[in-house]
Amino acid sequence: MDKIDWEEVARRIDSRDLPIIYMEDVHRYYIVGDIVVKALDGVSVKIYKGDFTAIMGPSGSGKSTLMNLVGCLDTPTSGKILIDGEDTRGLNETELAYIRNRKIGFVFQQFNLLGKITALENVMTPLLYTGGISAHERRERAEQALEKVGLADRMKHLPNELSGGQKQRVAIARALVTRPSIILADEPTGALDTKTGEQIMELFYSLNKEGNTIVVVTHNDEIGNACPNQIRIRDGKREA
């Protein structure tokens, strides 16, 4: 096997010569009792750096499975996945956790903030897992991230003292704080009213303009169609 020139790979990803997310004929099967559930049945995807892509499909289509694979929460039954040049096949839990921490910034429908700690501490948490970052720098970077999402005045608040929109902004700040390769948002507006949802989407647009690669997983056509690129999934396969 040839030695990988990571600088070259990074340069080519930066110049959109190589995709930042590359999936080739990916299958993900689950065995439930005697039945094999083909959640993903041969999907290929290319997403380039700086893209703003919606992964769309009705519930049960396999889009959540796709998101779990892109987010390195899961590994495929067969097929190839490269995240920022990194092959996730055969990685163990610890190695997957490493990639999640450095390359993926998750935003969830239900915000998934840790309830007993402040907004600032929530945003600092991923940096704790990166390791080698001083408490001072963790705090500084978390403060910057919260300022970026417009929550400079809510840092010391506990999640239950924040509105839904504010919680989602904290979650976005938490996703941004590690400077990940990809921001992966799973139904980010699903728990918000329309107006607040629009504001969150606008935040994503502006983050995308700054060069962030954003993937939004949604069953909502309105949200999905508003994104510059769409990938549609149905019955575990990509729709043309």
């Binding site: 779990n68 839990e93 956790a97 998750f106 998934n112 840790l114 991923p126 704790l128 897992y129």
Partner: protein, 393 residues
Amino acid sequence: MVIQNIKLALGSMKGGKMRTVLSLLGIIIGVASVVTILTLGNSATGSITDSITSSGYDLIYLSPAFGSKTRETFDESFAERLRKNVDGIGLVMPTVSGNARVRNGSIVTSTSIMGVNSDYAANMDYKESYGSWFGVEDNIFKRQVVVLGSDIAEKLFPGGNAVGNYITIFRDQGKKYLVVAVMEAKDASLGASFNSTVYIPYNTYTQRFQRVSGVGTYIIKVAENHDPKVVNADATKYLDDLVGTDNYMIISSASLAEMVSSVTGTLSIFLAAIGGISLLVGGIGIMNIMLVSVAERTKEIGIRKALGASPRVIRGQFLTEAITLTSFGGVVGIVIGIGLSKIVANIAGWGFAVSVNACLLSVGFSMAIGIFFGLYPAAKAAKMDPIDSLNYE
């Protein structure tokens, strides 16, 4: 990371105060009882051995049985024979004792009378508070002088000023005796309850109170650089051959002190083991609460994993929580244990000596329990599937 984990642990302990206290009760009771038992064991042993050895660690008490045969052997020249035949015999002090009624004016009481030589007080480390112990000539001329222990002096002379006054001792005849000294209080020791004894010269005693002469008890001081226990054993062997086992009794303060420590030591270990069982039961309580905590926080574990926490990090978080929990219980238990033993020691009148070893042992043991019983719940948390735990409601 460790600091962060301890902060998290303290946070979750504060979050459920009642639960924390209840789950820690086993550990707290266990540690408190171990510390109390070992500390009190120390204090009690110290107090008993102190009183046994208060006149010296190097004393051997030899009491002949009554009877004409032993009387021939145990005469005043016996000391020389003993010294010749047993290595390490230092001073030998013959003593005689009995009971008598004593009177000063209208105060009459019954007490023990002891006939001893003029060097008795100095050799027993027994000090006068007034006057001075009778001299050699008092013994030679069988003078009617007495020295009073502190309690009996107080009883006969409630107003003080015993020295220079006379008391009457009723035995045969009611003769008057001049009080020449009153002693300081001294803890009762082997064969001698100092404070309630009236001391008179040995020869005065044998002349006035004994129809048949014979030494009551020899108090033997072991010579320097000899092990009291070895001397005791040698003397026992010699005496067995001389008069037979049944015709004398020998006790050394060293062997008695050792026996007492070994008995109380065994008892302490036994009781501490029972405390240890409580610690073990407490540990199972910790495991239970940690399993509940892990189950309750499935979602949190999922979130942390999504943010990049490796299994090792998750395991460390929950293990730290278990150790913090049990260490906290250990410290609380030590504080309670020390307080409890201080109260008991005060009531019993023992010297109070905290067993530092017991404290270190208990904290170490409770931390070990934290690790042992925290490991399984922590491993369970670490192994959770990130997707399943994220979707857990």
